[in-house]
Symmetry: C2
Subunit: 289 residues, 2 copies
């Protein structure tokens, strides 16, 4: 769901718009956004991280660690790894560092502030590379993957997790709600990203030179049988994410405040009585030949 790069230390009363840090991050950098990323990562941790197991001592790179929302889960599941966590935003990195210090104080983590396309590490520096909700923000994801392949040893694996907003469908069906989700996809495209990237993981990894590419959907389906999932995912993750682009969607002329709010209200019915919601993440594992 498109988070992953950054969130600043701003007070809540500052408007939820783009920061001057990396203005193209479609979700903005407010504290509300940072809280959303935390809610999301906790609700989804088991679903997304299951199956990612690195032997103790492995040199692992997390590219685009953002505020550390996934980093703490990666470390919890793999306590013996030697992790290098990299991000483009110094502010995000500082938050990730604080989060890891609190939740995994014994972890072996090196922090790197820099662009994943130009990492200063020698070839084959890592046994494994992990990235989550990062490719969707890159104008050229194949180039990003190729740059990461360079620092991965032959035989090492890359693990990539991405969402795909085209996988979102819900009951009751609503054209207004659907249009509102489409605004998010459109804004992300304007920022050079792709909110429909999940479905492209196989061809992208193949194009970047990886082999044994294996992609599987990791699906969230929420209905009244699981109120915690409805709250944690449908309402506080997905609807909150769409809602967060309200000002930008209006400013871009995609919608009016009234239409946007109507779309959100109709989307929220998926989290109400008799409502259902479906979303598919994709998790890929591939090998550097």
């Amino acid at each position: 769901m498109t988070p992953g790069t950054a969130a600043s230390e701003r007070p809540d009363d500052r408007p939820d718009d783009h920061s001057d840090d990396h203005p193209d991050y479609v979700h903005g950098y407010s504290r509300t956004e940072a809280r959303r990323l935390g809610d999301q990562a906790d609700t989804l941790a088991d679903l997304l991280h299951a199956g990612t197991a690195y032997p103790a001592g492995s040199r692992v790179l997390e590219a685009g660690c953002g505020v550390g929302a996934q980093t703490v889960h990666l470390l919890a599941a793999n306590p013996g790894i030697r992790l290098t966590a990299a991000d483009l935003s110094a502010e995000s990195l500082a938050r990730a560092r604080a989060r890891v210090a609190e939740q995994a104080p014994a972890a072996d983590v090196t922090w790197h502030h820099g662009d994943l396309h130009r990492l200063p590490f020698p070839d084959a520096s890592f046994d494994h590379v992990f990235l989550c909700f990062v490719l969707e923000h890159l104008p050229d994801p194949t180039a990003g993957l190729a740059a990461l392949r360079r620092v991965l040893r032959p035989g090492g694996t890359i693990t990539v997790i991405e969402g795909d907003h085209g996988s979102a469908f819900f009951h009751p069906e609503s054209p207004a709600a659907r249009r509102t989700v489409d605004h998010l996809v459109r804004l992300q495209a304007r920022a050079g990203g792709d909110g429909l990237l999940g479905r492209r993981l196989h061809p992208l990894l193949t194009a970047a030179g990886f082999t044994r590419v294996s992609v599987r959907p990791r699906t969230v389906y929420a209905d009244e049988a699981d109120p915690a999932l409805v709250e944690g995912f449908t309402r506080r993750t997905f609807v909150a994410m769409v809602e967060s682009v309200r000002a930008d969607a209006v400013a871009a002329g995609l919608t009016t405040p009234e239409d946007f709010d109507r779309g959100i209200a109709e989307l929220r019915r998926a989290a109400g009585p008799g409502g259902t919601f479906h979303y598919a993440f994709f998790k890929a594992v591939a090998v550097n030949p």
Copy 2:
């Protein structure tokens, strides 16, 4: 994927349009359609039937058994059950009977020709009810479920499997392909059905008086890593299903032959080099209180 009620013994040269048997069946009744249902059931059997296990001796009703595409899998996984298989179409029932005679000759099956809304069985006649790709064709699925609940004993379970065409997304993305899929949904709606029913299983079962309703997606994702799945599902099941409504979509004025064919050609790219395809079925289990 919307099959499940019938397919006639017509020769292949007869046009692939509606029969006079049950003209509202959106997929038609040709032999091509019957073959499609067979391909589909075999490719999907493990995915859809996993977890459906009835104790030997159980009295099980399959409502809307159609040509027996799912019946043979149900019997293979549950060899000791006492099955009653019912369908509205005498022709379909004859085909199902022949199929079961060939593939499960020892099975204990009673065949019933009739409407699932008006089954002549006493209350609580069955321990379990199973239906697959049936509700999507009913004008009032809640009424259908309530009628089935009457013949189910208290404490007995109902298992329902349905598709949802709104779950179909693919790479490369294509508005023309998407419109073509939408024609199928629209035609099914005109025939009184709902091609987006999967997402509604929880509220429908709840409305029909069932309890402990548990719904899970059963997702098919196909890419180049699994050419057999691309062939068996993307091409021979999904694209074939959409393609089967060509004449009806044109006759209904939804599209032109040229536009339809262009949509199919673009949809087929999901089964070509670098293509990917996603579809979610939903499987529900609920209890008659």
